[in-house]
């Protein structure tokens, strides 16, 4: 004989009323446990993340404030004059007029005669004398003078704008030919990161700029 167990609503109700005192606290404990695992623990973990984020934000804010104070303290006119000197020394493009001026001023001040003003401009395209990865224009200069005046010319050229570098000197009696490169540097693309601004010029760099200001 098959006994059929009927688990209907009245049975549930009877079971509930009979075990009510167990069921309710057990359900509360279970719900609390679920709440604790599902909500309170993740919220607690989130608190730690918030604390970490606070620390990071605090550091960033301090850094930003330091940068803001630093930028505010930089003297605009002083910075402009330094940038002007630096740009004259290292022009952003091929400064032919500046080069001719530097050579002719050097020649006049040292008393050498430029050989019929016959200096040979080397390759002027992008390929031109990329010496040590620094873009430059190579010029072969011929001057007529004695050795002392040539030395003086070299000295004057070393302290002329745009910056130049003599890579070789050939003296034959009174005719000296020298290979000179004049440097330039295009302005790089500027990406300002407010959190990592360039620092102020170092004492060495400031000294160099001050020294160069007397070259002009």
């Amino acid at each position: 004989m098959n006994k059929k167990f009927n688990f209907d609503q009245s049975t549930i109700r009877i079971l509930y009323y009979r075990n009510k005192e167990y069921i309710i606290p057990s359900a509360i404990i279970l719900i609390c446990l679920i709440l604790f695992i599902k909500f309170i623990i993740p919220q607690g973990q989130e608190l730690f993340l918030i604390k970490e984020k606070e620390k990071e934000t605090q550091t960033r804010v301090e850094n930003l404030k330091k940068n803001l104070n630093f930028l505010s303290s930089v003297d605009s006119s002083d910075l402009d004059s330094k940038l002007e000197i630096a740009s004259n020394a290292l022009p952003p493009k091929k400064d032919f007029a500046g080069i001719i001026n530097a050579i002719s001023d050097g020649a006049i001040n040292s008393g050498v005669a430029l050989d019929d003003f016959g200096f040979t401009v080397g390759e002027l395209s992008t390929k031109s004398a990329k010496l040590n990865t620094q873009p430059s224009i190579q010029i072969n200069l011929s001057v007529k003078s004695d050795k002392d005046r040539v030395r003086l010319f070299l000295k004057k050229l070393a302290k002329a704008f745009p910056l130049s570098e003599v890579t070789s000197v050939q003296m034959n009696n009174n005719l000296t030919t020298m290979v000179t490169v004049f440097y330039y540097k295009p302005f790089p693309p500027i990406e300002i990161d407010d959190y990592a601004l360039p620092g102020n010029l170092s004492a060495k760099e400031t000294k160099l700029i001050n020294e160069m200001s007397s070259w002009e």
């Binding site: 607690g44 940068n67 290292l90 620094q134 030395r151 070393a158 003599v166 050939q170 601004l197 360039p198």
Partner: protein
């Protein structure tokens, strides 16, 4: 009286045990409720106390103040970049004027230079003089520079010829710079 056949006593014992379980369950549920409420309030208060929002506002505020100074920052960046390059070029470029001065100082007055070539690595000199001792003096001076590591690393005498017709000596030297 045997306890094994006392059904009433057993029933009381079970009821007592059930009551204890119910009591424990109730206490546990109340504690659970309390703990959940306590931690919920604690987390809420701690979150409420967090200065993160204020910090984020302060960050945005400072960023907007800095953005006004961006042109100045750009000029500073350009100046700094350019000066670094200039410094690099100046420190790297050889001082030919000084080198030539040192070499010329080593050459006696009665020795004339017919060819003098110098670059970053080498120096080649062709000199003539009617005095052999002056030529010797020049050689001594140049060799001394190798010894004192003043300018040269090595000196090679390429040749020494005598021009009988003019009565002059011609010396050819190659030197490797330091």
């Amino acid at each position: 009286m045997s306890e094994g056949i006392n059904l009433l006593l057993d029933k009381n014992k079970n009821a007592h045990k059930n009551k204890e379980i119910i009591k424990a369950l109730r206490i546990t549920s109340v504690i659970s409720l309390f703990l959940v409420a306590f931690f919920s309030i604690l987390v809420f208060l701690l979150k409420l106390q967090s200065p993160l929002t204020n910090l984020q506002n302060e960050e945005q505020d400072t960023l907007s103040k800095i953005s006004v100074l961006h042109p100045k920052a750009a000029r500073l960046f350009l100046a700094s970049d350019r000066i670094k390059n200039i410094s690099e070029i100046i420190s790297r470029r050889p001082d030919f004027e000084k080198r030539i001065a040192i070499i010329l100082k080593a050459i006696p007055n009665d020795v004339s230079l017919s060819t003098f070539n110098i670059d970053n690595k080498n120096v080649s000199i062709v000199a003539t003089s009617s005095s052999l001792s002056s030529i010797g003096q020049m050689l001594d001076n140049l060799v001394a520079m190798v010894g004192s590591k003043e300018l040269f690393n090595k000196i090679n005498l390429q040749g020494l010829t005598v021009d009988g017709a003019n009565g002059s000596y011609r010396i050819s030297i190659e030197a490797i710079l330091l």
